[in-house]
């Protein structure tokens, strides 16, 4: 496990190398950072290397074993239709992990751009972007995604990513705006402005890179929020649709048979909890590594 930790470490790093080493060192010095990273690496390994190692494929149905408990042939047992729970769960986890990561990256990117433009230009740009942000905060996101998702058709999980991201960036963008307001008065920003660098270039070259620590921490914590939202929607049948599977849909299916066939439910539920826990551990440790003064887990 230790090898995974060292190879993954640079992900947690901002631009300057010396600071990068300091932050990575602090991150790895905390047990939460180590545990989160190791757990995440193990889960990714399982999700992507697991299914090829199993004897069954995603479409396979074992007609000799319906609703069988875990055996040597079916590591996590089988479902009512004879599908291998291990392979199906790994497929679901892969989808959930991918959606979570993508949503976090997209929503943090949107938050950074919107917040930085609002905070740098102020005035009308700020006011209009502020209205959009406030309106999106008030709209019932769950309801709207649930209503829109059937219109997407099957297999459109990338559109799902866009929808989830569209309702997740607002709070971060408010924080980014606040930071940008203070950054715009800094000497290096003023210097660039007096040299005639256009505003959008200043934003992308100077303002956004200088809040990378906030953005990295926020993106990490957004991963768990995104996975939670996606699995909840899928649990209700409004998220990822068959034939594609997500952990949420699997848990909903498993819940129906949980009382007499616990393996259909507990593996998917347990892996979902582990995934979110791992992301949260890593996110917390990252925040403390960037800002040791934050005094442990604080929001």
């Amino acid at each position: 496990m230790t090898t995974d930790v060292t190879t993954e470490a640079p992900v947690a790093a901002p631009a300057a190398p010396s600071r990068r080493r300091v932050v990575a060192g602090r991150f790895l010095a905390s047990w939460r950072g180590r545990a989160g990273l190791a757990l995440l690496a193990a889960l990714f390994l399982l999700a992507f290397a697991g299914p090829p190692a199993a004897a069954w494929s995603f479409e396979d149905r074992d007609f000799l074993a319906f609703l069988s408990p875990p055996t040597a042939a079916h590591w996590f047992g089988t479902t009512q239709s004879g599908a291998d729970v291990f392979v199906v769960t790994m497929h679901g986890m892969r989808r959930s992990l991918l959606i979570g990561l993508l949503v976090a990256v997209v929503s943090t990117a949107v938050a950074a751009v919107v917040g930085a433009f609002a905070g740098y230009y102020l005035g009308w740009t700020d006011r209009v972007l502020g209205w959009v942000t406030d309106l999106l905060l008030v709209l019932p996101a769950f309801l709207i995604i649930a209503v829109l998702s059937p219109a997407l058709g099957q297999g459109a999980w990338l559109v799902m990513v866009g929808l989830l991201a569209a309702f997740m960036w607002m709070v971060t963008s408010k924080m980014v705006r606040g930071l940008a307001v203070s950054l715009r008065k800094r000497e290096y920003v003023l210097a660039a402005r007096f040299m005639g660098v256009p505003g959008y270039k200043i934003i992308f070259r100077h303002v956004i890179p200088n809040m990378s620590s906030l953005l990295i921490v926020d993106a990490t914590l957004n991963v768990s929020a995104a996975i939670l939202t996606e699995t909840t929607l899928s649990y209700f049948g409004f998220g990822v649709r068959p034939p594609e599977v997500s952990l949420g849909g699997l848990i909903a299916d498993g819940a129906a048979t949980a009382l007499y066939a616990p393996w259909t439910f507990w593996f998917a539920a347990g892996l979902l909890i582990l995934t979110i826990l791992a992301v949260n551990l890593a996110g917390d440790a990252l925040r403390d590594a960037f800002d040791p003064a934050s005094g442990g887990a604080r929001r």
């Binding site: 768990s224 009382l259 442990g296």
Partner: protein
């Protein structure tokens, strides 16, 4: 103060109007036939589609439909459900008690547990109990509500059947107080666990900030007992961010505790929402969306007013 409330209320109305418009456009923008088809569902026969188009007047220009929609909304008429043919306001009023009781009970639990936990942590930072609580909180935050809910039902049915705890349907407390508690306890705990975790973090962080302030040192220096310093001087000021979060959460949850209600089969607003989305019951969806937004707007105004009471430095202008 009153000027502030009036200005915020007017702004809130503006936001509600924007929400209603957005929801309206989401459903009604587009050619009449495709809108009717979307409402009827992909497998509905053509006659049904035609009927929907005619009864809703989807042939009219969009502006005219929009004005009609706004006019009805202004008169408090949310329309009639496609499915059950009852007025939407009746459906909402019937679902409201379950949601109100669920949120009220859970809020009492999570606020008590959250603030207590946060204070315990903040008074002894980096101690063993602080670390234990922090780890528990992390686990709590990582628990998806629906998994926790299913787990509770599993426990209630297979391990503690003698407790008589059962998932839904909602029983009004005046009818059968025992049954009310047997139905509500599990949803209360489920909703409170996840929320309490957030509140422990929030209270701990805010308390640590406050306890580092100068006036706390002054209070200690003049010889105030430690519990008085913690609660009278520290906690009161530290509660400001907690109150913000509380207002936002209550507003959002009253709009529909979708997951908890559905897992436990309580017929509240969240359940109504899910059902109307599944059935494509448009008037109910719009009604629920506007109501949910209204709860959030009102909660935000109340939070701002509460600020001025908690923190004497805040003046409302």
């Amino acid at each position: 103060m009153w000027r502030f409330v009036i200005r915020r209320a007017l702004f809130g109305l503006l936001v509600l109007w924007l929400v209603a418009t957005t929801v309206f456009l989401l459903f009604f923008a587009g050619p009449a036939d495709s809108v009717a088809r979307r409402l009827a569902g992909p497998r509905a026969p053509q006659e049904v589609v035609n009927q929907i188009r005619d009864t809703l007047g989807l042939d009219r220009p969009l502006t005219q439909q929009y004005l009609g929609f706004l006019n009805k909304l202004l008169h408090g008429d949310l329309g009639t459900s496609f499915i059950s043919q009852t007025p939407v306001s009746t459906l909402i009023m019937a679902s409201l008690p379950a949601t109100l009781w669920l949120v009220a009970g859970a809020a009492a639990l999570w606020l008590t547990a959250g603030v207590t936990g946060g204070v315990i942590c903040a008074t002894a930072p980096r101690s063993l109990r602080d670390r234990l609580i922090t780890v528990t909180v992390l686990a709590g935050i990582s628990l998806p509500t629906f998994v926790l809910g299913i787990f509770m039902i599993f426990l209630a049915l297979s391990v503690f059947p003698w407790l008589g705890l059962a998932p839904g349907p909602y029983i009004p407390p005046l009818e059968d107080i025992r049954g009310f508690f047997q139905v509500m306890i599990m949803p209360w705990i489920t909703l409170a666990v996840v929320q309490a975790a957030v509140y422990v973090r929030l209270t701990r962080g805010s308390m640590l900030d406050t306890l580092g302030e100068d006036y706390i040192r002054t209070a200690r220096a003049k010889g105030a007992p430690e519990h008085r310093v913690t609660y009278r001087h520290g906690l009161r000021a530290a509660l400001t961010p907690v109150v913000t979060q509380f207002g936002v959460d209550i507003g959002a949850l009253l709009g529909g505790v979708v997951v908890t209600e559905s897992v436990f089969g309580l017929q509240g607003l969240g359940q109504l929402m899910i059902r109307s989305v599944r059935d494509g019951d448009l008037p109910v969806i719009i009604g629920a969306a506007v109501l949910a937004a209204a709860f959030i707007v009102v909660a935000n105004i109340l939070v701002d007013i509460a600020y001025s009471f908690l923190d004497p430095r805040v003046r409302l202008t």
